[in-house]
Amino acid sequence: MSALAGAFFSLGNLLNVALSIAVIGILGVGMTAVILTGGIDLSVGSGVALSGVVAALAAHAVDSGAATGGSPSLLPVVAALGAALAVGAAGGVFTGVAVARLRAPAFLVTLALLSIERGLAFLFSSGQAVSDLPAGFNWLGQGIVFGVPVPVWLTAACFGVGWFVLARTTWGRWIYAVGGNEAAAWLAGIDTRGVTLGTYVANGLLVGLAGAVLTARLGAAVPNAGLGYELDVIAAVVVGGTALTGGRGSVLGTLAGAVCIGTLDNALNLANVDPYLQRVVVGVVILLAVLGERLRHRGRT
């Protein structure tokens, strides 16, 4: 048991946990904002796969065009990252327009997008992994700066910016207002449609970034990547105390939620707990966290 504790509390393992929650964490920042507006995004897992596949294909397309030169250039890296962000943003625009303009339920729109994006990921990649990515791109997932993996830096940056926007800017106030009471926010002169649309686009950009990071980490884009991530991300957000009804919660709570679930996963793995049992334990912990949060709020009112 002490050996286990030693392995668990080592600096290496803490970085390991941080790295393992990087993708879920990046997605969690966007999901928190979306849920704060009273929405939801079920398509993030598929979005991660699709943006990864398109990024890899873009890198290949640009690379084969410039391959005659021989020297490694930055162009494929920029193309790949740009493509991933563009795909993510496009998904965000799609959802944002459907939800904000057409008044469609976010649950159903993103459920449809989940299927569409997964299908496109398989179509574009012919169901195969797209590997042999430029080294510069893989650095996004595998590089280390000042002893800390690049994905961890990126995740920290996303949480920092997310926290600042939501807690310290007018835009952030508007997001809380829209989720708290949309009609009241509209009457108060807030462009509620614009805020909702903007939130989904920002979330989309983060999905694109997460797709790029995961692809770079694997060194290949796989069309079945990100299966079930939507549930992991929503779990992290909810365990972090953000209300699914919107208007209440924070990015820092989501960070705590992601760390909590990531740490639990890691500890169960290190302890070599039966994989079947692991799922049960994780579910029970999520349930306890949500119930605890519920009781805390009931006490307050």
Partner: protein, 347 residues
């Protein structure tokens, strides 16, 4: 079409909607909304009709493609998925063998959905196909559907996963236990018969369990070796990567990983490479020998060997079994397609 459009009632109900007091101001008139949604009936029917048309067209296209000259037999095929290399190869084997014999194929895929696959088999029965080849989504759950086909005097062959609790003409499958054992034998040799190893499994599938259990059993026969961790990689690369990260973190002494499929093996390879492990210090053995994995093996990474199944053979021998059945020749009820090890030396 014209009569239906009138039936949607838009022209009739518009005055009704106008009668709504708030209609002029606009937004929340329920009457108008109701009219709108009913009017939606038309485009929706059109969409459904279009989809059915596309399905019918592409379906007939498939038939045309696989029918050579005179069609003698029609074989309904329900694959597990068309999105994995293994089943794409299996499908190719079925197609080739069917084309050689002039059989017409009706190709479908259960897409990991038991209810969908059962419905596909029921459809084959209604279509009066001459035989059915099924790659079961679930070995326990597919039985009743196969029973219904058998009751309709349609012979069924299972390819890859076996069906439990029912009768098939032949069960064509790789020997997954032999594969797990081969992987263990390779691992023992690569590590010089000593050291700690781990398994990245997929305990949700019978094939995954068989491979894992046979590997663990074989390692258990070597007193100086130990399986120190068995984690679930879900058979997909990103989950396997995370599992491998945790294994490598928790067991610095680890010398090898057996992954029950190549997606898991490539995830483990990414984790090992990030931690600076090379082929000199670490051995990963995968399963399936997909082109990407074989490339990694040939490039002398820590992924050193793969157990290769022969999905094309499984597909071809499924058709062969049906051919024997049609000719009233004896058919083996269990047909085992051998597995082999692929490493850097394999041509």
């Amino acid at each position: 079409m014209r009569t239906r459009r009138a039936g949607a009632g838009l022209p009739v109900r518009v005055p009704n909607a106008d009668a709504c007091p708030s209609a002029q101001r606009g937004r929340r008139c329920t009457a108008r909304r109701r009219v709108r949604t009913e009017a939606l009936g038309n485009p929706l029917t059109a969409v459904v009709a279009a989809v059915m048309c596309i399905a019918a067209c592409s379906g007939s296209g498939d038939h045309a493609a696989s029918s050579g000259g005179a069609v003698t037999k029609v074989v309904g095929v329900t694959l597990l998925t068309r999105e994995q290399h293994f089943y794409q190869d299996l499908e190719a084997g079925v197609k080739d063998a069917a084309a050689r014999r002039g059989y017409r194929l009706v190709l479908t895929s259960g897409d990991f959905d038991l209810a969908k696959q059962q419905a596909q088999i029921d459809n084959f029965v209604v279509q009066h196909v001459d035989a059915i080849i099924v790659c079961p989504v679930n070995s326990q759950g597919i039985g009743p559907a196969i029973d219904r086909a058998t009751a309709a005097h349609i012979p069924v062959v299972s390819a890859d996963t076996k069906a439990v609790g029912t009768h098939v003409v032949a069960a064509v499958a790789s020997d997954n236990r032999a594969g797990g054992q081969l992987a263990a034998t390779y691992m023992v040799r690569a590590l010089g018969d000593s050291g700690a190893v781990a398994v990245i499994g997929q305990p949700e599938t019978q094939t995954g369990l068989d491979r894992q259990q046979a590997f663990v059993d074989e390692i258990g026969r070597h007193p100086r070796m130990a399986v120190v961790a068995i984690l679930n990689g879900g058979g997909v690369r990103d989950r396997a990567l995370k599992a491998a990260d945790d294994i490598l973190q928790g067991h610095p002494e680890l010398r090898g990983i057996f992954a029950i499929n190549d997606e898991s093996a490539l995830g483990a390879l990414a984790a090992a490479t990030t931690r600076g492990k090379t082929g000199a210090t670490f051995t990963i053995v995968g399963y399936d020998a997909t082109p990407e994995a074989v490339k990694a093996i040939k490039s002398h990474s820590s992924l050193k060997a793969d157990v290769a199944q022969q999905p094309r053979d499984i597909g071809e021998r499924s058709i062969d079994a049906l051919a024997a059945y049609f000719d009233h020749r004896p058919v083996d009820s269990v047909i085992t397609v051998p597995v082999r090890v692929v490493d850097a030396e394999t041509p």
